[in-house]
C-alpha cells in the first residue's frame, strides 16, 4: 500500500508518546490508542480514495457515497490529530513536572 502522505505528517509526534509506556496493567497504552486512531485514518483515507476513483472513472457513480466517505475521512483525520495533540501535551506536562 503506498505511503499515505497525510499519515506521515500525523505520526510526527509518535516517538515521544511511545516513551510514556503503559498506563495501567491490562489497559491499552497511549501508543496503542494512537496506533488505532492512525490506522482508522488510513482505512478511511483509502476508502475515500477508492470511491473518488470509482466516480471519476464512471464505474460506480455513487456521488453521495463519495462525499460521505470524504467527510468520514476528514473527521477521523481531525480526531486523530486532536488525540495526538492531547497526548503530546500530556507528555510535555509530565516531563516538566518537578519531582
Amino acid at each position: 500500500m503506498p505511503i499515505n502522505p497525510i499519515l506521515a505528517g500525523l505520526s510526527s509526534g509518535l516517538p515521544a508518546v511511545r516513551e510514556l509506556g503503559t498506563v495501567a496493567p491490562g489497559g491499552a497504552s497511549f501508543a496503542d490508542r494512537l496506533d488505532t486512531a492512525i490506522r482508522s485514518v488510513s482505512d478511511h483515507q483509502n476508502a475515500a480514495d477508492v470511491r473518488i476513483a470509482n466516480v471519476a472513472s464512471g464505474d460506480d457513480v455513487d456521488v453521495h457515497g463519495m462525499m460521505i466517505a470524504l467527510q468520514e475521512a476528514d473527521i477521523t483525520l481531525r480526531l486523530a490529530v486532536a488525540v495526538r495533540d492531547k497526548l503530546v501535551d500530556g507528555f510535555d506536562r509530565i516531563q516538566n513536572m518537578q519531582i
Partner: protein, 137 residues
Amino acid sequence: MSAFLFDRLHNGLGRVLDLRQAQHGITASNIAHASTPGYRARYIPFDQILARAVGKGSQLELSRTDRRHVLSPGADPENPEVVEIDPPPWAADQNSVDPEREAVRMTENSLMYDAVSTGLSRRIAMLRYAASDGRQA
C-alpha cells in the same frame, strides 16, 4: 517531495477533468454547428479512458483472462480518440448533430465534472490540513 505528496490518483483526477473539459468543448462545437451542412457531430468515448486515467486500467490488464478483453489504443488519456457520428439517412444536409443528444451529453458531462472536481477539492483540503500539522482549518 511532490511526487510523494501528489500521488497517482491526484494527477489522474486532474487528467479526468482535462478530458471532461475537452468533451464539453466538442459538445459546444456540435451545438454551434447544428445548422452547418455536412458537419459530423463527434465525442470522446469515455468507457475505458477515464479508468486508465485514474490508474484503474492496470487492474484491468492484470485480470484479462480472455484474448478479447483488449484495451483499445484509443483509450490513452494523453491522446484520446474522438469518434464521429454518421448522419441519419433522412438528413438532407448530411448534418449529424442531434440537439437533444448533445444537451443530454452536456448535462451528464458537467455533472461529472462537478463531482470529480469536488472529490479532488476535498482531498486536497485534507492534504493541506495534514501538511500544516493540523493548524489550518
